[in-house]
Symmetry: D3
Subunit: 237 residues, 6 copies
């Protein structure tokens, strides 16, 4: 039987850990190939602590972030790929867009995770969202690389931004990640440069867990929230 795949499009090296680490670990634990595309290392905008090292260079910062992210991906059980497009601002040409479309074609993901539509604190995030969605549409086009088969219509879920209400992001789905929380927290710990976020995102996990419990009548300790881009198609509510 073919291994199922999921695709994660992450603007910076650590976004996938804080925002979707539970989903990644959960599906990896089920034997899926979860593949993470990091558009940048977050080298300029999300590496404050590393920049405190005297004389550190941009390349060195990138290397540190790359290693952390690789380690985190390994802990979560996922593969990771770095497109090195730069951050603050993230900028890509259509070659990168087509490259992402080709990843859709080669991976044929069952679902896709990416950033919110808006974020007034971080314009790389909505841009990553746009890339992930536009590449998906291109991968559906019969005239794009007509020799490889088009993809279907994988659903896209938007993970939680840092300040959800300011980003017009609303959780429409709570994913119970209690069973893999340990892995998510272990992945946090690879992020030396952002230690202050470990506890922040632990509390996010607990709050979303409490809310998931409220919305289901089940006991759920840790959850991740996701917004849905497209309607769900189903034969059962």
């Amino acid at each position: 039987m073919q291994q199922k795949t999921a695709l994660v499009v992450s603007a910076h090296a650590a976004d996938f850990v804080w925002r979707a680490g539970g989903a990644i670990a959960l599906y990896a634990s089920r034997g899926w190939n979860v593949h993470i595309l990091c558009l940048s290392f977050g080298e300029r905008g999300e590496s404050a602590k590393i920049w405190k090292t005297p004389g550190v260079t941009l390349d060195e910062v990138k290397q540190v972030r790359r290693k952390e992210a690789e380690k985190a991906a390994t802990i979560l059980g996922a593969s990771v790929e770095f497109l090195d497009c730069g951050d603050y601002p993230l900028r890509v040409g259509d070659d990168i867009l087509f490259g992402i479309a080709d990843r859709y074609r080669s991976l044929r993901p069952e679902f896709v995770l990416t950033h919110s539509f808006r974020d007034p604190y971080n314009f790389d995030h909505p841009f990553a969202n746009h890339l992930a969605l536009e590449a998906r549409v291109i991968a559906q086009a019969h005239g794009h690389n007509p020799d490889t088969p088009v993809i279907g219509a994988p659903p896209v879920f938007l993970f939680e931004p840092h300040q959800p209400e300011q980003c017009e992001w609303k959780p429409e789905l709570f994913l119970d990640i209690s069973s893999v929380w340990d892995k998510k927290y272990e992945a946090f710990q690879t992020m030396d440069a952002q230690e202050h976020l470990w506890e922040y995102y632990t509390r996010v996990g607990l709050q979303r867990g409490a809310q998931a419990s409220r919305n289901s009548g089940q006991k759920i300790k840790y959850a991740e929230g996701y917004q849905c881009v497209y309607p769900r198609v189903t034969d059962a509510f």
Copy 2:
């Protein structure tokens, strides 16, 4: 094993047919007890054709609508109950609200279907929505009839209004009803007084089916659209 139940709160006698007939038939076909609460018969506002009968009385109109609705419910495989609260305008006291809360307690539905939050063409519809949601909250309160056990947190789905964009209603879930379309259409045909709607809602079923296909890559002929009131809690996307 206990039979599972679902609850449908319908403002007028025919709403459940046009808007949720597929979901009702689908779950009935799976052995569920689907119970429909009709808050009114739609006797004043949705029985234009019957009122053309010279000398017809309000009670007679109600009787016609009741019979049609009972017949439709039977075709769909559901039970139906009429609260006779009046329509155009629908008005209820807290006794009715508590009655609906008690239905939640006695039925313990797995899910609930009702009207949209807004409808500038029909104020009975958002009022039915409010009743269905407020009764659900009361049924969760430990101090309401403390001798019967409180309910959990059944999800609520809002079925499609007549002019969806004008009602700020958005389909977030497409339910494939192809397998029970025949039953839904048969139920349409009990509604002698609203024959013009048979084809209208057949086209709705086909459009939502086409959209469900687009959003899933599957072939789906007929679908119903639903908006979700609460976040979904899940361990799989």
Copy 3:
């Protein structure tokens, strides 16, 4: 030929002057019967100056406001009717609602003007909006007073609230009222108790006029803005 009619539903005695005086005068000048329903006199909440008279009674305040409003209506060329439901808060039973529905039936208006959907400064305004819309729906119901013919679907336009952006009100239509501005301003002057509003609403007229010019390329000096409740049906853009 039958005289055409329009209906204005005004929460307080003066609302119709500030907010819709131009539309009223314009259609009156074209020979229409424009009928104004004042749900209250604004006796408690919009008569600050009159209340400064030592010993003045509620009835006396009502009489002053009634006379002003009658005089304003006469200047604008409209008929006016007072339902005396009280203000701050406006409260009505279903008898009043049915009374308004019956006005729809007897007047058969070509269009209806009323308040915005929201107003956090004045809850009588959205309530008047709700009454005007719900009465319209009841007047369309064949089972309501089955002996009088139902109405069609007159469009409803929402006039400008005092602080438009705070009321989620947006002008979707600018009505050129330059030709009747003098009458509107003359009607302002009957409102002794609200002199501070004369200049405020003159400026509103000029700003909306300037905006109407921008949106049409025509020279328009005075305009009133309206939001549309229902889609326009037309055979020409």
Copy 4:
């Protein structure tokens, strides 16, 4: 010098503690009279644990909640008043509304705190919001109790609901409550019946603190978020 006052309108006995306890303690610590109106005790809907006591009566539940709330208010340094309107559903007549308006008149608050506009989990909350806002407008009306002076325009701030994104609530203001956090947490501990919320709302305080830091560049440990109903008027940004 006259003592300044603030008014808190709380649907249930404990809402003011979880949602506004920091603001209350902060202003009390500055010598203000902070007055809390509890519309109900939350006796039916927010006292699950107490209802587990065999044979407990509604009145006994109310007494427990009253005592807890009085104790919490004392810890926070505020006065509290119970209107005993019932909960799940909260229902009030215009006498209560006028009573709240009279509190506005007698207290003349500098600002008002209350619930969010919407809450699909709890319809008492938006109803309390509506009461607080409508009473404010009535208290501004010269014709309401013309013998007592009208109030000005105190700003109204909406405290945080339990599931903010589901309630269309957005924090527009972060109040630094670090200096009074101990009091807030002490007040939590009076709420024996809702122990599961102590940690939940501690995490809320920490998350809002972290966000307040992000939005200001200051170090803030604990904060409360508020949405603003009316525009701020100022001579400095």
Copy 5:
């Protein structure tokens, strides 16, 4: 007398047929010059069937789509022009933008039709919207090609996207196209590559017709829905 003109900005070769074919045929039948700008042929993303031909090239696909679109335009009575900017993704430089601005200047359209503001299924559509609106603003600028006269303020109407609720598109105007439906359907039939859409858009026409009837009290069989970008300026409601 000068012939009046209208401008249609269509992202792909067939959009103008499904979405605005009725409006085009209606105005053409009244003697207007309706000019269609096709930004692309939809060669990559909307020609699935043609790509099934073994060995077909991009240029051949374009030729097929061009012929179909020319034939459809002829049936509708309009002129058509292809800018060949590419699709999936549509990308244009400012030269194209200025070219569209110049079309505004030379055509001086009475109104403009184009795509919705958003479409998560197709990013070429909102981009075409943006181009149409930005070019209009440039054509209004006195400093752009100062030797040709600036345009006024032609209204812009947004035609219906494929899944309206997902695109935040709302019909604010229903255009009765019953008299030209035959031409619209004939134009559908030129689109061999998209046969599955003939019936889909026939049902759209019927649904919008039924809704137009509801909103007007007239019998209207087929309609097209449009959203309005700018307020309407009028001297009659």
Copy 6:
């Protein structure tokens, strides 16, 4: 003591005058360094009257607008800098973006004023908004020019667009500018090319003043309205 600074990002040469002239004059009168970045001169799109001069060149138009804007800035007490990026359309490369980021770094403004998020009449305005916000984020990034210190989190306020409701702009803050109104009006008068706007924006000032009075209970003659991008952080409501 260090002089405090504020930054204004204005798309065209005159925007800062009409929209923020009061705020600029107010803070300048308090001894602040208010620095205005004009991204363009508005030479193509907002200089209609100048273009009527026969044979006038683009450079000459720019010079006229530059002089007017410099004179206006001087009257208001601010410094002004022209980036000459062109208008209708405004287009900038990342060099300009980084230049603005560097201004943030060198000025270290206490607050920032710029355009609204949307404006369907003028796409340069939302683009200026985006630049101002994205540059702010870059200036916060430790990896951007690591040798100069990052900035904190200055709040950003959006000044009033020409047609506020069409731009989804809402005043959340009213700044009392009565004390500096004379300077603002004097600055208006430098704008010979846009004389029709003097009275328009005088009325805006009066309307916002009246609304500021309503929202505060104070007498305020002239005000400017601002929307807030980020939550306010405070220790007092």
